[in-house]
Subunit: 408 residues, 2 copies
């Protein structure tokens, strides 16, 4: 039974938050696209974040990590169009962005989360951001979440925003968020830029715990192209304005909060994968019967990461060999002789492999199933009871096109 | 100084070997393409092989492993068009192929190496192979290497065959070989089907040592798409007919033999990468200044495996961020502040990153460099003296096209 309800909303749905996004001009060739956003709370929030594991990283990561050391934040400033990574003045520019936001909002620069996304290795122009912040401070509003979601998009084709509600001790708690991510998305990293807000009362320590647990089965199980970014960040701020009893330990309220956070992150994971660069379909690999959780996760990730599986999904080709192959090189210790594989979509389900052996199957029906927009690859390992799912997409001509000349 | 010379030749160039390839009909829809080959020596040979590390593997692997336990082989039988993997009767069919070859040649089935390549999970039809062996036994010849090279091709666009010579103790020693591989090629595996012959006198144990050492810097440093096959095999047979003193330890002759074997394998690695599915160019990542060999190899492999780097190479986009990004997530412990990156081709060399920072550079010249067919990505780490190179290709529309519907 679910203890939460998705609602129409965004990062501004929880009590206390306003936001907006403007065309600041960081993207010089796209002067019709928003490229600077701010998200602000009326009071300092408990805050936590997780980051890319890439050793090459934007200075925004280090600055944000420093600002979150005390578990408190009150605002986010984020630009698209330039990653501010691998630049000689990256640190200075990241700190300048925080100072600009702090000055405009009358808060401490230490309470600002800063993020950037876009081209790596090009100096970030600060003038557009100065002008953008001046404009933003006058238009921050509870309706501005959608504009903020637009402002962090790069190659995304759809904006990602969401909200959901749950009840904690009789109080309505709302969680909202925005995310960007389309390419350079891979497992085991922050994966994307994502900013999450909630009016739940929860300590920074418990917020961090919940963030890590929820990301582990959602953001950390998405792959578009196997590349991981220099700038990934998933940050959450909790205003406490819902008035629930503050969560300071892993009690029943924590479990409910985690359940809702996980559901919202999983919905984002699917959106990120479905909007993968060039993707025409969402591919979810659901592994069951694994000996342990690690094996289930390893197999699921290996399958959604396989270029050959992804190309076959684009071609609606019910190739079972590529699935087995990806299971085989995943590194998980599986008994090949027990593996069953099915494809499933709104058009039905078809078994293509039983006990590790390819089956003859109805190719026409298989094609019909695989021509849908959301495909499940079901793998039953027969080794135990553990389950996992991973989120990916197909590999298409447009992925190559988008990435063949990204900078121009 | 090189101690070997490449010559025009093939797997039949070393003394004692004959081969051929025929249209047996394993590829039912391609009745104009050769799909069955045999390579035979007039006497039993010292033999060794390395295999895929995929847990899901063709029964041909197990049968060949068993036949090579005594370090002796006299013939290879190999088909394309069907991988004989993930089939209920795979073992039986693989053994039947050996028996057919043995009977036709009047040798022991235990001295036959068997391999298959093609679609996974479809039962291998044995009748075409029976007919093919009957035809082959009458046409085995010293000129048949090229036909054998053709017969093992799947999505390859060019056949891969080579030969080179060296002198050991005054005797001319020849090494020859054929290979196939275009997609499902990845590092740290046998990577492909490849059959190598030599007339050197060398023990099976030393042959195995040399094979592993040479493959480690060649076959094991090639990536086309990150997928590894169920059927990879690299096998070598040594007839001893060159009359050199048998190599039974790691002496000077072993060093010369290894040098030549390594050179021949590196030439194949480049051919495999350049003929990667859909590839328009060969991309070699040359890493220098690494703290140790492991770091050099890890970085080089990470860069040639990156989908984003590969797509940028297709688009002739001198993106330095993607290179740094791939270095950063490689897992190698590098000092980002010391990394220099250049692109080089026949049109010149251009530095795009110094000390981990992107540089402004001449975009027109960079484009000119990257429009060539063979690109070097030069990465200087500044951490030490170790070097490595890895071989890859670009990611193109045609990769997607080829793999969108491989089976039809």
């Amino acid at each position: 039974m679910k203890h939460y309800t998705f609602i129409n909303g965004s990062v501004t749905s929880p009590l206390g938050f306003t936001a907006n996004g403007v065309i600041a001009g960081v993207k010089p060739q796209n002067t019709t696209k928003r490229d600077l956003a701010m998200i602000v709370c009326e009071k300092p929030c408990a805050a936590a974040a997780i980051f890319t594991k890439n050793r090459v990283r934007s200075d925004t990561i280090a600055v944000t990590q420093q600002h979150l050391q005390n578990g408190t934040a009150q605002a986010v400033i984020v630009n698209s169009g330039n990653a501010n990574a691998c630049n000689p003045d990256g640190r200075e520019k990241a700190e300048r962005m925080c100072a600009l936001a702090a000055e405009a909002l009358g808060i401490s620069a230490d309470d600002v989360i800063v993020a950037s996304t876009g081209v790596i290795g090009q100096v970030l122009p600060i003038e557009p951001i100065e002008k953008g912040v001046s404009a933003l401070k006058h238009i921050l509003s509870a309706d501005g979440g959608t504009n903020a979601a637009e402002a962090i998009m790069t190659t995304d084709t759809v904006k990602k925003e969401w909200a959901l509600q749950l009840t904690l001790g009789g109080k309505t708690v709302t969680i909202g968020g925005i995310a960007k991510g389309s390419g350079m998305i891979h497992i085991n990293m922050g994966t994307t830029l994502s900013f999450v807000t909630t009016d739940a009362a929860i300590s920074a320590a418990m917020l961090h715990e919940a963030l890590v647990e929820a990301a582990d089965v959602s953001y950390n199980m998405v792959s578009v192209d196997g590349d991981t970014s220099t700038n990934d960040m998933l940050a959450v701020m909790a205003s406490g304005l819902a008035g629930n009893e503050e969560i300071t330990e892993k009690n029943a309220d924590y479990a409910l909060f985690l359940e809702a956070l996980t559901a919202s992150f999983r919905s984002v994971a699917k959106k990120l994968a479905a909007d993968g660069e060039g993707a025409t379909k969402l591919v979810i690999c659901r592994v069951s019967g694994a000996a342990d959780l690690q094996a289930a996760r390893t197999v699921a990730k290996s399958v959604v990461c396989s270029s050959l599986v992804k190309a076959a999904m684009f071609g609606a080709d019910a190739n079972c060999g590529r699935i087995l192959c990806a299971v085989g090189y995943s590194g998980a210790e599986v008994d090949v002789q027990k593996i069953d594989v099915s494809y499933r979509s709104a058009k039905g389900e078809i078994l293509v492999c039983r006990n590790g052996m390819g089956l003859a199957f109805d190719e026409v029906h298989a094609k019909e199933i695989l021509l849908e927009k959301e495909i499940d690859i079901l793998i039953r390992l027969g080794d135990g009871e553990a389950e996992a799912e991973a989120y990916g997409c197909d590999l298409t001509y447009d992925y190559v096109k988008i990435n063949g000349d990204y900078r121009t």
